[in-house]
Symmetry: C2
Subunit: 148 residues, 2 copies
DNA sequence: ACTAATCCTGATAAAATTAGTCAAGTATAA
DNA sequence: TTATACTTGACTAATTTTATCAGGATTAGT
């Protein structure tokens, strides 16, 4: 369990490239794609997801491409995986909320309370890692592009 | 992300029932199934998974059924979800090991190191919850069977 | 204005996974 | 002997994931 789909794995690799590119000119999908052997049309979808959630910005046209919308130390892996794979939760019913944004019912099944606590713990763990750390982790290494 | 499949959700509910039944006569699939509105044939598969991993024992024939193979405080939610949903890991390559049971290569992609650390953290979180806690959590409540 | 590069968007198709069913079999208790 | 209940493997249906594709809109450079 806990597995990321290709959508998630590709998205995180893209964010890694954008983090390394932060402050420079936009990076084109084609270039990101080439560096990690990811299919261009799929990556388009993936980056669109990240854009919808405000993690990246884009510039169209010649010399266009994507940039992070915040500095790498202000973007967490938690935000990234939530944008790419949906909310962090053990089940859907945990997420259902009433108009006041409170859980609809305190108890939904025998495990709901534990599911909620575990979900929060996991989200916290993912939020404790930033794109800056991801980038620095690899600053002195040549990574293997075809890892999946 | 982090979502459990029905396989996992059903399995945990079954384990909850078995935890409450610990020390008594075996509990039949049909009975467990009825209490939570789960399809019998599917639950058969699920309990078989738990048996293969040694979490439950079974007795066939009349008055047969399933029992926990250890006391509820000796079985963690981590063991359960791993039995039901496979190993806890962000990606498959993290799991590939050489004959000495070491990671095949230290670095697989830009995120592998972080994936590994996060996976371990999550596994630890799941292992910190036992079936006893799951059972006690609900000792004073009537749960809603049709939560999913 | 023209052109090439690039993002944008929605539709669609292929593949993989999950969910659930079914049937014939084996073991057990009464 | 009989009814009950687990065992096992095969099978189908539904859902999700993984892409692919086409046509459109925007921008930089000339
Ligand atoms: S399955 Fe979501 S709270 Fe029980
Ligand atoms: S995708 Fe598994 S280590 Fe990179």
């Amino acid at each position: 369990m806990l597995k990321l789909s290709n959508r998630g794995l590709y998205g995180i690799k893209a964010l890694y490239e954008l983090a390394n590119n932060y402050g420079k000119e936009p990076l084109a999908i084609r270039e990101i794609s080439k560096r990690h052997g990811m299919p261009v049309p799929f990556l388009e979808q993936v980056l669109h997801l990240l854009k919808k959630k405000g993690l990246v910005k884009s510039r169209r046209g010649s010399n266009g491409g994507y940039t992070l919308s915040r500095s790498p130390d202000k973007i967490t892996l938690g935000e990234a995986v939530i944008a790419l794979e949906g909310p962090i939760a053990l089940c859907d019913c945990i997420l259902k909320r009433d108009p006041d944004n409170k859980l609809e019912k305190e108890m939904r099944c025998v495990a709901s309370n534990i599911y909620r606590k575990l979900g929060e713990k996991v989200e916290q763990a993912f939020n404790s890692v930033t794109l800056l750390e991801l980038a620095e982790e690899n600053s002195d290494k040549t990574y293997i592009a075809t890892c999946k």
